[in-house]
């Protein structure tokens, strides 16, 4: 029985030790570090599910252990575990593109850094205070700068790394400026104190509003909400695919949990700026859904398509947040995880077999590997929101939340976005099942990948058929 706080420290320590192990034990089989990382994450997940509730008293001022925090902590662990498996699956591609030593390059850092990122994301899930929000957020972001540019022999990866670094640093500047204004206006760094000050008439609403706007802009960048989504397609396409998966699920979820807490603080009972923050979120949601869905129609690269899709999903989650439905945001995130990770796992498996990530490369997939084609169909159907898949329940709950608050205009736009989704998500499926002329080689899928694919498919279908499974976790 360990507390969640000890589990996070355990993960960070294992991450540091693995970096040292990779650096000093150069004779060691290069698969030891990946497996150790996967083992540590799996162990942490088990420890997390059987954790003890009591935490040291000295961390309580900045550390929350409510159901939201626990949900996002488990979420971060599951994401990291699957991302590490995806990374191991595509190991030789990452190694090949990271130095001229080719596939024999030792890339232990590529597996150790995600553990540190995971600890950071778990600390973010517990943030009760702007300092406790900012420091782990930066830990996660700085580690991602490294991971995105990791395959440095690929020009696209370097380009993605530079873009992410510059825009990420800018967004951090905006975020810190916002924190300074919020502190100046409310005299408090804790979300509780900010919420209390926001409802007091003596607090200067203008200054608080400016601070809130800057803070939301900084966090909007992290979750990829419009108009701060411009970096996403290039970075997602250029980054190594496992890192793209980690960015689009882990980093986004961690961004959403802190965004949820900040919005809760700004729109608490009697807050002076609740309406303005709500309206800003609503317009951001509408814009994000449109700017994600419409360009996605014209994409011919599956990775880029999934980047635009992740923008559109972020729009739906911001919409739920604008309606105050924080549980729905978490639920949507939970439905987004299996489908998106499944999609990226397939891309990596295909890549290891020499199949590229252009849409046309998928042609005839159903003949070459029925399992992969079926998994692709499940992943994209769930992202589109087909009934009986997890994605359907997520979208349904968002629409219900928006309708209950009578935001019909935004709902109409979201329906347009979801409808466009049916077009662009079904194109890869149709391509995969289209008949092709001539002989084609069968594709090999490793046992680890098979098991992971099966688990993710079961996850998508189980939540789609019986959503209470996920909802009960959120209670």
């Amino acid at each position: 029985m360990m507390s969640s706080f000890s589990i996070e420290i355990f993960l960070a320590v294992v991450g540091v030790l693995l970096i040292a192990l990779d650096a000093f034990a150069t004779e060691l089989n290069r698969k030891v570090v990946p497996w150790a990382a996967i083992g540590a994450t799996g162990l942490a997940l088990i420890l997390m599910l059987t954790r003890s509730a009591d935490i040291p008293a000295w961390i309580t001022p900045f550390y929350a252990t409510d159901s939201l925090a626990v949900f996002y902590k488990v979420f971060a662990l599951v994401t990291t575990l699957i991302v590490l498996i995806i990374a191991l699956e595509g190991d030789f591609i990452t190694a090949y593109f990271s130095s001229s030593e080719g596939v024999k390059t030792r890339i232990g850092e590529f597996y150790a850094l995600p553990l540190i990122v995971c600890a950071g994301m778990m600390w973010m899930a517990s943030a009760k205070d702007l300092v406790a929000l900012f420091v782990p957020l930066e830990l996660v972001t700085v580690s991602f700068y490294v991971l995105v540019a990791f395959t440095r022999r690929s020009a696209m990866s370097l380009e993605a790394g530079v873009k992410y670094l510059i825009l990420g640093a800018l967004s951090t500047g905006v975020l810190v400026f916002g924190i300074a204004w919020v502190y100046g206006a409310t005299g408090s760094l804790s979300f509780e104190g900010i919420a209390a000050a926001a409802s007091k008439p003596t607090t200067n609403a203008m200054a608080l509003m400016l601070g809130a706007a800057l803070l939301l802009a900084g966090l909007g960048f992290k979750v990829g909400a419009a108009p701060f989504q411009i970096w996403i397609p290039d970075v997602y396409q250029g980054a190594p695919t496992p890192v793209t998966a980690f960015l689009s699920v882990g980093s986004k979820a961690a961004g959403f949990v802190v965004l949820t807490r900040a919005v809760q603080a700004f729109t608490g009972d009697g807050s002076q700026i609740a309406t303005q923050v709500g309206n800003a979120l609503l317009s951001a949601a509408a814009l994000t859904i449109l700017l994600g869905s419409l360009p996605a129609i014209f994409q011919t690269n599956v990775k880029r398509l999934m980047a635009y899709s992740s923008i559109s999903h972020a729009g739906f989650m911001v919409l739920a947040l604008a309606c105050g439905a924080t549980g729905t945001v978490a639920f949507y995130m939970g439905t987004y995880l299996p489908a998106t990770l499944l999609g990226f796992l397939l891309l990596v498996v295909l890549r290891t077999q020499g199949v590229g990530d252009e849409l046309k490369d998928l042609a005839g997939l159903s003949k070459r590997s029925p399992l992969l084609a079926f998994a692709l169909a499940v992943a994209f159907a769930s992202m589109a929101g087909l009934p009986l898949t997890a994605g359907f329940m997520g979208k349904l709950l968002v629409f219900m939340a928006a309708i209950s608050k009578a935001h019909y205009g935004v709902v109409a736009l979201a329906v347009v976005g979801a409808a466009a989704g049916f077009y662009y998500y079904f194109r890869p499926i149709l391509t995969a099942y289209s008949p092709v002329e001539g002989e084609s080689t069968k594709l090999q899928v490793s046992p680890v990948a098979r098991v992971t694919i099966a688990v993710l498919i079961v996850g998508v279908v189980a939540v789609g058929v019986y959503p209470k499974l996920l909802q009960s976790v959120l209670k």
């Binding site: 001229s100 850092e109 490294v146 022999r153 696209m156 200054a207």
Partner: protein
């Protein structure tokens, strides 16, 4: 601080800040940044924030900028000559900066707390002294001086000791990243995928 000095240092900060962007020679850019930081440090000190003012000089104008200059020297970056100025971007950026300044000016016009200085603030340091637990801070507060470095250290180590260590982890991740990304490649041509 007399307002003449405020305007002097504000002008130094702003003019050299513009210099950073406008200068074609990277060394001139970096040195402009040093001057801009120095002006900023003077402004901090004028607000009685001695500790931050000192840090601004020591860390930013000192360590960070020396590092910048070293990198410019090592990479042997030449002045960006013949580069066309993209006027659309320049105008757009300028417009954005003006809009943001106007917005902040409007907010500040309404923000009465912003007009106060520490001199207007009735700081009852003697009463504050009875609240803190650290002896040295207590003594100085009782004497009526504000030990801002010690208070900041107290907040940092008493309230956020854990976050301070996470910053250590962050720096480690950053260092590892620098090593990974700048490791010398043994032969072989750069490939473009």
């Amino acid at each position: 601080m007399p307002s003449v000095l405020f305007y002097l240092f504000a002008a130094i900060t702003l003019l050299f800040g513009v210099g950073v962007v406008v200068a074609r020679n990277p060394v001139a850019s970096a040195l402009s940044l040093v001057c801009s930081f120095t002006g900023l440090a003077a402004l901090f000190i004028s607000l009685d924030a001695y500790f931050i003012g000192t840090l601004q000089i020591l860390v930013y104008a000192g360590a960070v900028m020396v590092l910048f200059l070293f990198i410019i020297m090592l990479l042997d970056i030449k002045a960006a000559e013949g580069r066309q100025t993209n006027y659309a971007t320049a105008v757009g950026g300028l417009l954005l900066a003006v809009l943001f300044t106007v917005q902040i000016a409007m907010v500040l016009g309404d923000f009465k707390e912003g007009n106060k200085t520490l001199a207007d603030q009735t700081l009852n340091l003697g009463a504050a002294a009875s609240k803190t637990s650290l002896n040295t801070i207590k003594d100085e507060l009782a004497e009526g001086t504000l030990p801002d470095a010690k208070l900041m250290g107290f907040t940092l180590f008493d309230k956020y000791p854990f976050q301070l260590q996470v910053v250590g982890l962050l720096l480690l991740a950053g260092t590892v990243g620098v090593v990974v990304l700048s490791k010398r490649d043994r032969g072989g041509k750069e490939e473009v995928s």
